[in-house]
Amino acid sequence: MTEHEHQHGAEAHVVSYGRYVLIWLGLVGLTGATVALAGIDLGRWVIMTALTIASIKGLLVLNEFMHLKFEDRVFRIFALVAGVVLLIFITLTFFDYAFH
């Protein structure tokens, strides 16, 4: 970069096709795993395993496909805040609900 470079965010991150295909294979594999696990009676762990696998898939899409890992730290803080807000919604709803 030259000292005259003013343009914010002009730094490009070129991700190889191979890496994208690798991530896609991981996502397909996790989908297979979650479908296979659904056939087994895990009792109360059914929801936990399904949501854990879905969260891993979501994080892969966020970080790799959506380039969150390349962005400024403030993007990740925003994403974290959005996720925590959603978690607070769910937790508070259940607190309210459980003590009705």
Binding site: M1, T2, H4, E5, Q7, H8, G9, A10, E11, A12, H13, V14, V15, S16, Y17, R19, Y20, V21, I23, W24, L27, V28, T31, T34, V35, A38, V46, I47, A50, L51, I53, A54, K57, G58, V61, L62, E64, F65, M66, H67, E71, D72, V74, F75, F78, A79, A82, V85, L86, F89, I90, T93, F94, Y97
Partner: protein, 209 residues
Amino acid sequence: MITSAAAAVPHGHTHRDDVGSRMGMWLFLFTELILFGGMFVVYAVYRFDHPAEFELGAKELDTLIGTINTMVLLTSSLTVAMSITAIQQGKKRLSLLLVGITILLALMFLVNKYFEWHHKFESGLYPQSPELLNKPPGEILYFGLYFVMTGLHALHVIIGAIVLAVMMVFIQRGSINKDSYVKLEAGALYWHLVDIIWIFLFPLFYLIH
């Protein structure tokens, strides 16, 4: 893997803030997250109330068609991500092809969804149908949430496909090019969000039984 294209941009070029543009898109995506998040809260509470009836409802969905649609959306996320690499490398035709495949996969998803809903309607399952109203309250809630949440998601798929079609026009005309492709990035971000929402809808409606 990481290259700097910044040096290629001539000094004195029109002002542009790609990071700002992307941040605007991310902020919009957070509002989408809260929109669907509210529905997930409703789902969680009613499921907590009627676990057995939600399981019965989930048994009536076709896991195979749900799995196929998951694969279709994951693949469409791959092709739209690759279209950005293509435009960064200046491969206009490849980028157009990849966005085009993404739109075709979106249509494939919608066709599957159509058949799925059509099948449900034919067996008498649609909002307020006599067949559905005869079921226990938990199942009525389950199918209500199923139609609203997958319906709103399908609406997002339609909007995403239209947005990506506009991106194809921009690429064709050259307003999205090797040095300026933030519009395509924003379109792709929207598409990936649609994928992430489905990643959570799929197990919650099809797999929990």
